[in-house]
Assembly symmetry: C2
Homo-oligomer: 402 residues x 2
């Protein structure tokens, strides 16, 4: 068997993990022959042979000996340029850049088809859990009803520290960054965008439909306060940042990212620390739960290794579901039941609830429990940017299922 | 896209589930054109079109219009005959018969290669959880260290009823059969053979090595008594029937099926009722946990549907790991720490423990906690058949990991 020659873009936490993991895997028949970095002089924990590093992007793209490009850089625009050029040249790519993949997926699918070349990105969603591959290959039928889970390891780590260990929010965030779980820009994690990008990718492989990230309601945990934590504790639930795509009827689905109150009976209740957990629900098999490390250098690197080995056997995503006759349509005309903690009552001048179930007011804080459509939440994104406001989903109706 | 024409062998609980599930899946492009049953006159819950049923085995095997055979019959010898003949004729097969697959796997691999034809059997291990496919495709590298889990839904259902609901053992067994979880011959489930066959199949796809079922130590839950349940409760643990294959060092692995005391901190502690749960442990990704319905008509049928759809895209197992250069060797020279409840002290005349840690004796019962090699347990299989004896693994050493 021939050895697969890899050109690696990015040598940060994940890139160094890949270098370590590929060195360990004797039967992988893979070798990193060139690593492209932004800054050659940056001090690194890991020593590599003379001449392996370069800061010239073209040195990999123009090297005809390279069979596969692995791209794990933080800058989504730069990543897109590299991946686009590689695919146009017919070089297969394994990517870990969820923001880039989520933003450009239709284009990336077209490029794969036109140039008869593969782009794999299992590592981009849920680190070491093989969600994309299983949705593409194993749950490739009409029975699929819902994919719901904790897709972001660092926000989950922070919630876990705050919730289960009584730590301060900012201390927990700093620790997550020190441990290498949180992205350089933490808002990516805690504002829900990382989960969103993963959810957009999952939706393509789950239901065969691409929804633009900007069309999806996304709300994070950056405004969580002690009051909300105490409220959740009193109700015997935890707050988790949950991403979900759900078939709401035969012809429609919805998706969104929001904090959610999770009861102890639910599978994802016990997904703590940097772990990810995904529930796949279908018509005949009911619920399947997958659980594993979703952040960190080596778990992500081992997922990249799985994609590299898949290329040894010419594996590619077929995007089969996109060819189905009756694809469901995305709708935001879906009622949610939410908890809204606020300080400025003016928020209700534009935010229209269909029903208010509970109102609470004290010297310290006030909240309401009410029913509101996702479309209404999207229309009021700016209002909901208020730092003295926290919104949390209360699972109910079709959502109260796992 | 062409419709795949299926000949189905077996129309019991699982067969009828397949008929139902394939009817539901519009995009599956699959149609059952003939069903072979043992007894045409047996009353059935489900009505099928005139002429679909036959009791003539050859009517499917000799039908050139049939693209795929799905085999879900109970009789392992009859199943083997059908599968062997189909593969020799170049007809691909999807099988749910774990006993048959586990017993004949080397021969079945040879037949697939010689006749360039596929045999898929994901449904045979863990019902709806895609364990085989993931071990084959996603964990196809050297990082894999252990696969450990609850692989038998009916024994787990029984333990769950007995343990969590205080039901009588025989009542629980009868209920499992009524619900369609337990096989016609319950000893298959409760003596651990069903778990064993699945473990043998998993080992081939996990480590690339086939171990004959008769060479694996297998002990079930048929002799479990109230005393053992009380003992476990006092220690704050549950008893589960666990199958595991573990790399014990760089060049060796072991595998066995045994009841085990499971602490609340372990993932499989909360796998209750008819569910299956599998922990996959690797060097860089640590632990992954997969959880889902492992028994019952529709979960198994939906897994069969996944295999049928994989055939639409010409998927086959490559048995890649069997070609690795340094395959680990099976060893039984591994020390376990066990709980042994017994009544006849003569059991110790042949059973040699390396160390006795605790002894207990009362009017009601007696037990020891001690260290013993797996090879010694295998040598004493007959002694351990004693109905007044119960053996349970106490995870320790390398085993105390998930």
């Amino acid at each position: 068997m021939e050895t697969i020659k890899i050109g690696l873009y990015g040598f940060g936490v994940v890139g160094q993990g890949i270098y370590h993991v590929i060195g360990k895997a004797k039967n992988a028949h893979a070798e990193i022959v060139k690593i492209c970095v932004k800054n050659l002089d940056k001090p690194r924990d890991i020593e590599v042979p003379e001449g392996l590093l370069t800061d010239n992007v073209d040195e990999i793209l123009n090297n005809d000996d390279i069979d596969l490009i692995v791209e794990v850089i933080n800058d989504a625009d730069a990543a897109y340029e590299i991946v686009r050029r590689a695919l146009e040249k017919g070089i297969p790519v394994v990517s870990g850049s969820k923001a880039m993949v989520a933003a450009h997926l239709p284009e990336l699918i077209r490029l794969q088809r036109e140039n008869n070349v593969a782009l794999l990105y299992d590592a981009s969603s849920c680190g070491s859990i093989p969600v994309i591959r299983n949705l593409e290959e194993y749950y490739d039928n009409d029975l699929l009803l819902e994919v719901k889970g904790i897709l972001n390891g660092s926000s989950n780590y922070i919630l876990s520290r705050v919730f289960d260990h009584g730590e301060d929010y900012n201390d927990a965030l700093r620790r997550a960054q020190e441990l290498g779980f949180a992205e350089a820009d933490p808002s990516f994690d805690i504002k829900g965008f990382d989960s969103l990008f993963k959810l957009v990718i999952i939706t393509v492989h789950a239901l065969g439909v691409y929804v633009k990230p900007e069309d999806v309601f996304t709300y994070g945990i950056s405004t969580l306060k002690d009051f909300d934590i105490r409220y959740a504790r009193e109700k015997g639930v935890k707050i988790k940042l949950v991403a979900q795509v759900v078939k709401v009827d035969e012809n429609h689905f919805t998706l969104f990212v929001m904090p959610e109150f999770i009861a102890p009976s639910k599978y994802i209740y016990s997904v703590d620390d940097e772990y990810n957990g995904v529930v796949i629900r279908g018509e005949c098999y009911d619920r399947q739960f997958m659980f594993g490390k979703g952040a960190g250098s080596l778990p992500t690197a081992s997922s990249i290794l799985s994609d590299v080995m898949a290329r040894l056997h010419d594996y590619r995503y077929e995007y089969k579901k996109m060819g189905y006759l009756d694809l469901p349509e995305y709708t935001t005309d879906i009622m949610l039941k939410v908890y809204l903690r606020y300080s400025d009552p003016k928020v209700f001048e534009s935010l229209k609830f269909d029903k208010i179930n509970e109102t609470y007011s004290s010297e310290e804080s006030r909240y309401i429990i009410g029913e509101i459509r996702i479309s209404e939440l999207i229309r009021n994104r700016e209002v909901l940017e208020d730092p003295d406001l926290f919104l949390c989903n209360i699972p109910r109706f079709f959502l109260d299922l796992d």
